[in-house]
């Protein structure tokens, strides 16, 4: 089956027993997620990859994480790494008896105990998992203390950074004693017509780039990232897998941003959470302080729009210290329903279709998401029509 592994990994967190099922339909992801939840129980968590995740089509980086009615995208390198681990979908059932993380690589899925998890923030968990498994490129979707506590204003972070989880998925991890999900793989994906797919993808990308002009990282998608105090801290732009027009800008706040190497242990933060930056500006934070606040929120596993909204209650002007103090008072923070990638496309259907295809909604909204424009390129990969 082209662009698919043909496998669904399943792990029962309550027993640690894993199994796999064949996946035979290379249909769009949304229907598969619903079917898997119906089959394995509505309390399951399903991680998915899109039909074209890992193809050469621009920004074909997306995966998904679904629990109940909630879905968040998995961007960066997480979506493709999940696919390369050998599974198209992962189903996590039940609740672990002790804190642990799901470790998936090369067709194997297992539950690894991490009893010290409650003492670790999300960054420490990510670093520990990578160190324990001996690979710095492991993709880690991690919770933090707010997730452990089941706060509805919690957020998961993907490889340290926040911006994908605007639906309270962090609490779903906490309810299951799940500290993180990690994946790594060296798989390969068959394609129907490699040459046609390559040529079509290059043509598609070049057409996009000729219209978009020079890339300025997040500033190309969000004007607020053009503020002078933001630009002065820019270290570099970072693209997700296959993205020719990145929206991720890394700011250095703790050392010279013009210095390429990292010397400080936590030199800065990777920005792509537009509503969080908008809210930070609204409450009067400088770009430097906004970066520090988003770092603290990511480490805590706290959704920053909710935190900043709570910090501004009463009309005062919050600062980093007062927000850090607020992070120890979870009960004072209520969730705020403000999407990040969810608001890229005007219709929810297009957003879900985009994710089902494994495409980044932000990039494809920028270039104009029209399934007809990519159908021939997609069909050269999968070997049949998209519809």
């Amino acid at each position: 089956m082209n662009m698919r592994n043909g496998k669904i990994g399943i792990i029962d967190l309550s027993t640690g027993v894993s199994s796999e099922e064949d996946f035979v339909g290379d249909v769009l992801t949304a229907g598969v997620l619903r079917a898997l939840l119906a089959k394995h129980g509505p309390d399951s968590i399903v991680l998915g990859t899109g039909l074209l995740t890992g193809s050469l089509i621009p920004a074909s980086c997306a995966g998904t994480l679904t629990a109940g009615q909630k879905t968040m995208p998995l961007l960066g390198h997480a979506g493709i790494e999940l696919k390369l681990s050998g599974f198209d979908f992962l189903v996590l059932k039940g609740k672990a008896p002790n804190w642990g993380y799901v470790w998936t690589r090369d067709g194997i899925v297992e539950l690894v105990e991490l009893r010290e998890s409650p003492q670790l923030n999300s960054w420490q968990r990510t670093d520990k998992i990578r160190a324990d498994q001996g690979d710095s490129k492991i993709q880690v979707v991690s919770g933090g203390p707010w997730c452990d506590a089941g706060s509805p204003a919690a957020q998961l972070v993907v490889d340290h950074w926040g911006g994908e989880d605007k639906v309270g998925m962090g609490a779903e991890f906490g309810k299951r004693n799940l500290a993180a999900v990690a994946f790594r793989g060296m798989g390969e994906l068959e394609i129907a017509d490699p040459e046609a797919h390559f040529e079509g993808s290059v043509a598609l990308m070049k057409g996009h780039l000729s219209r978009l002009g020079p890339n300025k990282g997040l500033q190309s998608y969000y004007e607020g990232a053009g503020r002078e105090d933001f630009v002065s801290l820019v270290h570099r732009y970072i693209g997700c897998y296959g993205c020719p027009f990145p929206c991720r800008t890394y700011l250095k706040t703790e050392e010279d941003p013009k210095e390429m190497r990292f010397m400080h242990k936590e030199p800065g933060y990777l920005h792509y959470d537009v509503p969080a930056l908008e809210m930070a500006t609204q409450v009067g934070l400088s770009s430097r302080d906004a970066t520090r606040v988003l770092t603290r929120c990511a480490q805590a596993g706290a959704e920053p729009v909710a935190v900043l909204t709570a910090a501004a209650v009463g009309g005062g002007r919050p600062d980093v210290a007062s927000i850090e103090s607020l992070l120890s008072r979870r009960a004072d923070v209520k969730p705020v329903n403000k999407g990040n990638f969810e608001s890229s496309l005007p219709s929810l259907k297009d957003y879900e279709t985009c994710l089902g295809l494994g495409l980044c909604p932000r990039y494809w909204a920028k270039v104009g998401f029209d399934i007809r424009s990519l159908s021939s390129c997609a069909e050269s990969a999968i070997g049949h029509t998209l519809q």
Partner: protein, 89 residues
């Protein structure tokens, strides 16, 4: 891709060399004639010193096949969005 008709991060002969702590980003190309070529901001060098690898699912470049220039039309140069990679005679 062209060797096996599959998409995999394991067979490319050119990879990113991202080494934050060493203060550079670069590219490593495995060639047939000169072994590993390392392109860094300070210039190109050759030898076996660069065994790092980048990207999802990547494996060390020493284990990969040497570049055959894709029969004269290097795909890495075609698909590079920033024209960071170019092919010259």
């Amino acid at each position: 891709m062209h060797r096996d008709s599959v998409l995999t991060p394991m067979t490319s002969s050119i990879i990113l060399h991202i080494e934050d702590k060493a203060n550079y980003f670069g590219l490593v190309l495995k060639t047939k004639s000169e072994g590993l070529l390392l392109g860094r901001p300070e210039g190109a060098s050759s030898g076996q010193q660069a065994s790092g690898s980048g990207g999802p699912g990547a494996k060390p470049i020493l284990l990969r096949e040497a570049c055959d220039l894709c029969d004269g039309r290097p795909k890495c140069a075609s698909i590079c969005p920033t024209q960071c990679i170019t092919a010259v005679d």
